[in-house]
């Protein structure tokens, strides 16, 4: 007995001594988490292959990333994520060793060291007005001299030294209202050319050393222009006229402006479509896209235009590449079915091809949008070419010798929405050979682990153990597991591609480029909006595959036509797609499913109609049954109104549509526009499971949580304080918090934080809301918590009622009962500014909660909800301490072990998604931004399972040893007994 107690005590001691923050050991990194680094859709690329060292390509992307990639494998050498409001406009190499980037609308110029990506210098360029920005580096032929960097940005021209980033001179063009579009350098003079308005063409000549204005000239073109001015060679430009029927050729030889114009119909006879000049820079040439053809047109010395070639089905044209003195080549792509032909031609010798290759590219990557080429010298001294292609799905490919050398799925850098799907159930019947092999592997693995536990493992064994743990085949299987750790993460990217990622190792299981979200003539700017779980079979429809609904729209405006796509979650095949006759303003997944477990969705359009999907009579039947109980609300952030609606009747249309419903307005909350502006709204997750409605206080008292799905948190800021922090004084800033019942429109709680302003990040869970904002008086960020309790249930105190089950606490309730609510709240200081805030979800809702805070440093911090408990006091009583109430402190602690991203960064963090695993203690956390990160977390530790590295072999050994010991001692005691008796 005493022994048992001792063992138990020891166990307790071990349990209590494990760290409260669930920090990881170094060798546990990568066991349950994975991290993927991306860069986004490439905008500019520069090859750096001259030196004998490592060959690399420098890229800047639409996600504001500057990176250096390994040309051999496509891995990232270095990468800098500049942030969403620091968009990279220009990328170039100066002095052969610095990468120069121009960002933030031409106001920040940075130089990065080419080999390691360290920042060398940064210059902030001043200017008075916003304008487009141009980066031009005049390559000095003499190696010892400085490269002059010419930057046009913010309405002025800057000359910056390449060595230290010093601004040598500055010429302000703000007064001239010229939109400079080109900078040309000729020996010691610099010409800045551009338009004033759309028909006045100006050229300014400047001294390259001092920036002094030497001369300026202008001419008025005979017609307005369309699109960008393209430089053909040093002093020649081409531009289209407004009607897109003429090409204007402008020559600024020696600062004198002359122009010629030519009708496109003179160049090509039967053309009907709109012409566009492609932005490829080719010497003496330019490319014009008309219909599906690309015309290459030569500009002669006399500024005449000569049609050189007509390329059918051309997709992309590269810039010219200088391969030797006077020899320039360029590449273009031709699509032919699933084949892609890559041509590299000499600019001057149009007849022969330097290279002609055909490649097969997965059609799920779509068309080629951009191509960058680079040459290398083959062993036989001829030129070989490699091409970097940016695809429609934003992925990046390197093609060399007719083969794809590497690909990067950079579309995953711009995840728009995430949902999950279960994997298929494991099929019965496993082959014997597999089992035997598995058994052997299993035994070997456990022997290794045992060695590790007993500390007799050699260094090689340790490496083997680590490798074994990391590439456990168990976690990347394509079937459902008992603990529910293996799932599919289905992500929609900005390119309109849907990926399914395996939660075990993050690999892409399938991907599909949705044709409803592809750019077509009808749909110029398709955007993928959201992704929903359409069909989640569990019980009676297990043989069906789950499916996903993707909602898209042509363009950002609400009135744009919309499309729905349904995708099989196991195979990634598009089951169905609909181009809708109505628009989409909101999609409301209803809590009802039909017999095949398809979820009913209501789609609200901008003309105040609600449409029911799926369009089946069964769905109508289900909705009719619940007709009077379906409500919806709309938040009009611009007008400061929240409205509640209910379904009324079928639409009164010319065409009878029984799936279309009108609705009536029930209530509206109009916030005073002079003092409040909606800046954030948040609701509870519809899939959140709440275990209990009661919260037990220290003195056995019970408070009943006000748990409702129809509850909305609204944060309003003072109109003057909606800008950046620091633009408003504390006196004119306030934050008003509302908790609103969205069925009745009743305001359950209202609170004002004086001297505070947004941005507000909030999360709603169970009966509480946690929100983050800035306190102007304290000059610090704050996090507040509000807990809502149902006061009308508080008098359910008779134990006998519960013993006999004579209470009505679990009977269905209606919001129209208007229950009395009380709230408790508390505020704390918090050090970080926050990018996203989320809460852990578990399958039964028993496990305590943790807040997941995406910090400004692109990490995810897990903070126990216990720290945000309104019952915290300065000196909690003994009973309160025992219950786990932490003494009140003015700020929330940031324990560095509780960063769930440990040493990693999820660059450009935009969102966090939590998914409950089947194991109650654990939930999966997926953080996305430019990078993707997934891990498992257990807020109360894994109390319901043994750890992954638990040594079953050791347990077995211990049991065997104990049994043996019992047997031996039994024999010994028998013998001793016998001897005793003989005495």
């Amino acid at each position: 007995m005493a022994m048992a107690i001792r063992v138990f005590l020891l166990l307790l001691f071990f349990l209590s001594s494990t760290n409260i923050g669930f920090s990881l050991f170094e060798d546990q990194v990568g066991l349950m988490d994975w991290h993927q680094q991306y860069i986004g859709k490439v905008k500019h690329a520069l090859f750096h292959t001259q030196k004998t060292g490592r060959k690399r390509v420098l890229v800047s992307t639409e996600e504001s990333v500057v990176a250096s990639l390994d040309l051999r494998h496509g891995e990232i050498f270095w990468r800098h994520v500049l942030g969403t409001n620091d968009v990279v406009d220009g990328l170039d190499i100066a002095l052969g060793k610095y990468v120069i980037t121009l960002s933030s609308d031409g106001s920040i110029l940075r130089a990065w060291n080419l080999p390691d990506g360290q920042m060398v210098w940064e210059t902030s360029l001043q200017g008075s007005k916003t304008s487009k920005s141009i980066l031009y580096i005049s390559k000095n032929p003499k190696a010892d001299k400085d490269d002059l960097i010419l930057v046009f940005g913010k309405g002025s021209l800057h000359a910056v030294s390449g060595i230290d980033g010093e601004v040598l001179w500055r010429k302000d063009f703000a007064g001239e209202s010229i939109e400079v579009s080109h900078i040309i350098q000729s020996t010691d003079k610099i010409y800045a050319a551009g338009f004033v308005g759309s028909s006045k063409f100006y050229v300014y000549g400047l001294n390259a050393d001092t920036g002094k204005l030497l001369k300026d000239d202008h001419t008025i073109l005979p017609c307005d222009t369309f699109g960008e001015l393209l430089s053909v060679s040093g002093d020649k430009f081409v531009v289209l006229d407004k009607m897109r029927s003429k090409i204007l050729t402008i020559n600024i030889k020696n600062g004198e402006i002359s122009y010629k114009q030519k009708l496109i119909s003179d160049l090509i006879k039967d053309s009907s479509g709109q012409a566009v000049i492609l932005p490829s820079r080719l010497p003496e040439l330019f490319a014009l896209r008309i219909d599906s053809h690309v015309l290459t047109i030569k500009v002669t010395n006399e500024d005449d235009l000569v049609l050189v070639d007509k390329i059918n089905n051309a997709a992309a044209v590269s810039d010219a590449l200088s391969i030797s003195e006077g020899q320039h080549s360029f590449a273009f792509i031709q699509h032919e079915g699933s084949n892609i032909h890559l041509f590299v031609k000499d600019v001057n010798d149009w007849n022969g091809d330097l290279l002609k290759e055909s490649i097969i590219i997965d059609h799920q990557r779509g068309n080629i949008e951009k191509i960058f080429i680079n040459n290398y010298v083959r062993t036989d001294r001829s030129y070989g070419f490699r091409a970097l292609m940016v695809m429609e799905d934003h992925s990046l490919l390197l093609v060399q010798q007719g083969e794809i050398v590497w690909t990067r799925e950079d579309g995953l850098a711009s995840v728009v929405d995430v949902t999950t799907s279960e994997l298929p159930v494991e099929k019965e019947g496993v082959s014997v050979a597999k089992v035997e092999q598995n058994l052997f592997e299993w035994l070997k693995g456990h022997v290794l682990k045992l060695k590790g536990t007993l500390m007799i493992a050699s260094p090689e064994d340790v490496v083997a153990i680590q490798a074994l743990r990391l590439r456990s085949s168990e976690k990347s299987k394509m079937t459902r597991d008992h603990n529910g750790f293996r799932k599919l993460l289905i992500v929609l990217t900005r390119a309109g591609k849907v990926f399914a990622l395996h939660t075990g190792d993050g690999r892409v299981v399938w991907s599909i480029l949705l044709h409803t979200l592809r750019k077509t003539e009808v749909c110029e700017h398709p955007v993928g909006l959201n992704i929903y779980q359409w069909q989640v079979p569990h019980h009676h429809a297990l043989d069906e595959n789950p499916s996903i609904l993707v909602v898209g729209r042509c363009g950002p405006s609400l009135a744009a036509p919309a499309a729905l796509s349904f995708i099989d979650a196991y195979t990634g095949k598009e089951l169905n797609s609909l181009r809708l006759a109505h628009t989409i303003a909101q999609v409301i997944p209803l809590p009802y499913t039909d017999s095949t477990e398809q979820r009913l969705h209501l789609i609200i359009d901008i003309d105040r109609h609600a449409y029911l999907y799926p369009r089946t009579p069964e769905a109508i039947g289900i909705l009719q049954r619940e007709f009077s109980n379906v409500y919806w609300y709309s938040v009009e952030a611009d007008n400061g109104i929240v409205r509640g609606h209910a379904l009324k009747s079928n639409c009164i249309h010319k065409i009878v549509d029984e799936y279309c419903f009108d609705f009536r307005d029930l209530w509206s909350i109009v916030f005073p526009s002079e003092s409040e502006k909606i800046i954030a709204t948040v609701t509870r997750k519809s899939n959140e499971v709440v275990h209990t409605q009661a919260k037990v206080m220290t003195d056995y008292d019970v408070m009943y949580k006000y748990v409702s799905n129809n509850i909305l948190f609204v944060a309003n800021a003072a109109p003057k304080a909606t800008g950046e922090i620091g633009t408003a004084t504390p006196e004119e800033a306030w934050l008003v918090i509302y908790i609103i019942d969205t069925v009745t429109g009743r305001i359950l709680h209202r609170m004002t934080h004086h001297g505070c302003q947004g941005p507000v990040h909030a999360v709603f869970s169970e009966n509480w809301v946690v929100y983050h904002y800035f306190n102007l008086r304290a000059h610090r960020y704050e996090i507040s918590v509000i807990e809502v309790y149902d006061q009308s249930r508080a008098d359910n105190k008779d134990v006998w009622k519960f013993v006999l089950g004579k209470h009505n606490l679990t009977s269905p309730i209606s919001s129209y009962y208007r229950p009395e609510v009380t709230t408790k709240s508390q505020s704390y200081f918090f050090t970080h500014s926050v990018k996203a805030i989320e809460v852990t979800l578990t399958s039964k809702g028993i496990t305590s909660k943790q807040l997941l805070i995406g910090t400004i440093g692109d990490q995810v911090l897990a903070l126990d909800k216990r720290f945000l408990d309104p019952r915290r006091t300065l000196n909690p009583s003994q009973a309160e301490k025992e219950e786990g109430i932490i003494p009140l402190t003015d700020s929330l602690p940031i324990i560095s072990q509780s960063y769930i991203t440990h040493s990693l960064k999820v660059e450009g963090l935009r969102g966090i998604v939590t998914v409950p695993a089947k194991l109650e203690s654990t939930s999966l956390v997926f953080a996305y931004g430019v990078d993707l990160f997934l891990t498992q977390i257990a807020p109360s530790r894994t109390y319901d399972s043994l750890t992954e590295d638990f040594s079953y072999a050791l347990l077995l050994l211990t049991i065997v040893a104990l049994v043996a010991a019992i047997f031996v001692t039994w024999v010994l005691s028998e013998r001793k007994d016998l001897q005793e008796k003989w005495k």
């Binding site: 919806w632 209990t692 009661a694």
Partner: protein
């Protein structure tokens, strides 16, 4: 006297001298070394007396056994007082043993009083006392259990796993998809 007659009547003896019947010849002193008490050592009388003594002793013992839980009770009380009122291993162990002992004792009341069973001995009294004392012990244990907060006597013990009530209405929506 009566005893002697009884004996004579029972057997077919011709004559008998009742040496034990000393009531008539009190004047003759006893011979030296003769102890009158040993005269009572007649077989049947002996067993009778022995039985008597035994039943007396049994009754006494039964009472003793019946009172034994009292000591236990005091001991338990002391241990409980020592264990304190917070829930930990020892207090739980002691409380449960305090509960278990009376229950097991009550279960085996018959067995405990088995050795003292006799048609002459009245066991009801001791048994009742025993049961009462054990019930007292049980009550003490329950009281302790309650003191530790392990009895579901509060509302909180009954509602802590009460699922939230279902809602009749459903409402969804939000800001327009941008």
């Amino acid at each position: 006297m009566e005893k002697g007659k009884g004996v004579m009547g029972s057997g077919g003896r011709r004559w008998a001298v009742d040496l034990s019947d000393n009531s008539t010849s009190r004047d003759i002193p006893d011979p030296p070394g003769f102890s009158r008490a040993s005269l009572d050592q007649d077989d049947s009388t002996l067993s009778r007396q022995k039985k008597d003594a035994e039943s007396n002793w049994k009754a006494q013992k039964a009472w003793e056994v019946a009172q034994a839980p009292l000591k236990n009770l005091l001991m338990m009380g002391f241990m409980m007082w020592m264990a304190g009122s917070t829930v930990h291993l020892f207090s739980i162990g002691i409380t449960f043993s305090a509960l278990w002992q009376p229950i097991s004792a009550l279960q085996s009341v018959g067995k405990i009083f088995e050795p003292y069973k006799d048609n002459k001995v009245e066991l009801l009294g001791p048994k009742l006392l025993f049961i009462a004392l054990n019930l007292g012990g049980l009550a003490l244990g329950v009281w302790k259990l309650n003191a530790l907060g392990l009895l579901p006597t509060h509302t909180s013990d009954w509602v802590s796993s009460l699922p939230p009530a279902q809602e009749v209405e459903f409402s969804g929506g939000g800001v327009n998809l941008g």
